[in-house]
Symmetry: C2
Subunit: 210 residues, 2 copies
């Protein structure tokens, strides 16, 4: 397809498309004549991925670059790319104190998530949040300890469901799977937060509204 068709199909302007090209975020087009470039589904998929990450995930362009590098590394497995993509999307966490990090690691173990990389930055993200919750004077009494088990179980159920829903078991194309996983992470992450706010408005009204 031509550049204008590609832009239309992906829902971006031609100017945005050219900007992504200059930034090296799109694979090169196939030259069919001196001034005529031909685009295909690879470009469309990449463009939709970039659009969602920018619009829904509000990912800055610098971070899109490391994501694109991971996607373009043909030797990386779906899982490898997914890990790199998640890291790129969320930036580097602050370094936590050893005590908080130990608590974060224990929570991950309690969740049963033993396949998480030992050097996943999300371990430090989690430690920082545990610190923020402790600073607020919450999260350390017996009720909180009990609550943690319920909470981890709910998150586990949710994550298992989502990974199953993102990745069609019949889909063999690595690039399609990567797109589904990364976009799923971002879009369904937003969806989760919005639905949670809606449900909490409901329960807040039930509890405090009358």
């Amino acid at each position: 397809m031509r550049i204008s068709e590609l832009a239309g199909a992906a829902g971006v302007s031609v100017a945005t498309l050219k900007y992504y090209q200059r930034e090296g975020l799109l694979p090169p087009a196939r030259k069919v004549a001196a001034r005529l470039a031909e685009y295909d589904d690879t470009h469309l998929r990449r463009l939709r991925l970039l659009r969602v990450l920018r619009e829904v995930g509000e990912v800055p362009v610098e971070r899109l670059r490391s994501l694109v590098e991971a996607v373009e590394d043909a030797d990386a497995s779906v899982h490898d790319v997914f890990g790199v993509a998640c890291d790129a999307l969320h930036g580097a966490p602050p370094e936590p104190g050893p005590d908080l990090r130990a608590i974060a690691d224990a929570l991950i173990e309690q969740g049963g998530w033993d396949r998480v990389r030992a050097d996943s930055p999300d371990r430090d993200h989690l430690a920082a949040l545990v610190g923020a919750i402790f600073d607020l004077g919450a999260g350390q009494d017996e009720a909180a300890q009990k609550g943690a088990a319920t909470y981890l179980r709910l998150v586990d159920e949710l994550a298992r469901f989502e990974i199953g829903a993102f990745a069609d078991p019949d889909e063999a194309d690595r690039d399609v799977l990567v797109e589904r996983m990364v976009v799923g992470q971002v879009v369904y992450g937003e969806l989760l937060l919005v639905l949670r706010r809606i449900a909490e408005e409901h329960y807040s009204a039930q509890r405090f509204g009358d």
Copy 2:
């Protein structure tokens, strides 16, 4: 307490504290002498609230102002303030098409959340996300319809659990409850996303890692 003690207890610098004062985000101090101001738990609570919203929620200062106005309106119930706070935290959504909005309303009904305001901006946020998911060619087949029921049930369970955990049933102080609810929304929202990423890394490794 003195200004330096207050800043230390809240974990912010004196400069930040003075900045919030100039921006009208803190209640006035009690003047105990010409050049001596005395602060109390009200200030500490407000400052901790502002700090969490800025640091964890990355809420811009303009939006903090509408939040503070809601918190300071003594006639507003906990639920009223919670609603205003949630709206202030998340900005105005784009106006969705009527079809998407109808789908969003139907999802909220399917979730059983009948206490959600008819004019809650989250209805439009949800509609926009449904649109983004449809644009990706997802969310419209039979499997997705079935999945929605599972997903809504999980979110419902999560929200019910969180509202119960945020608000101690014995707590009668409106301002304390408001702080817990708003901070809970933001901090536990981040916690949810981080734990979900961690759990999804685990399930992605199980599925694609070998």
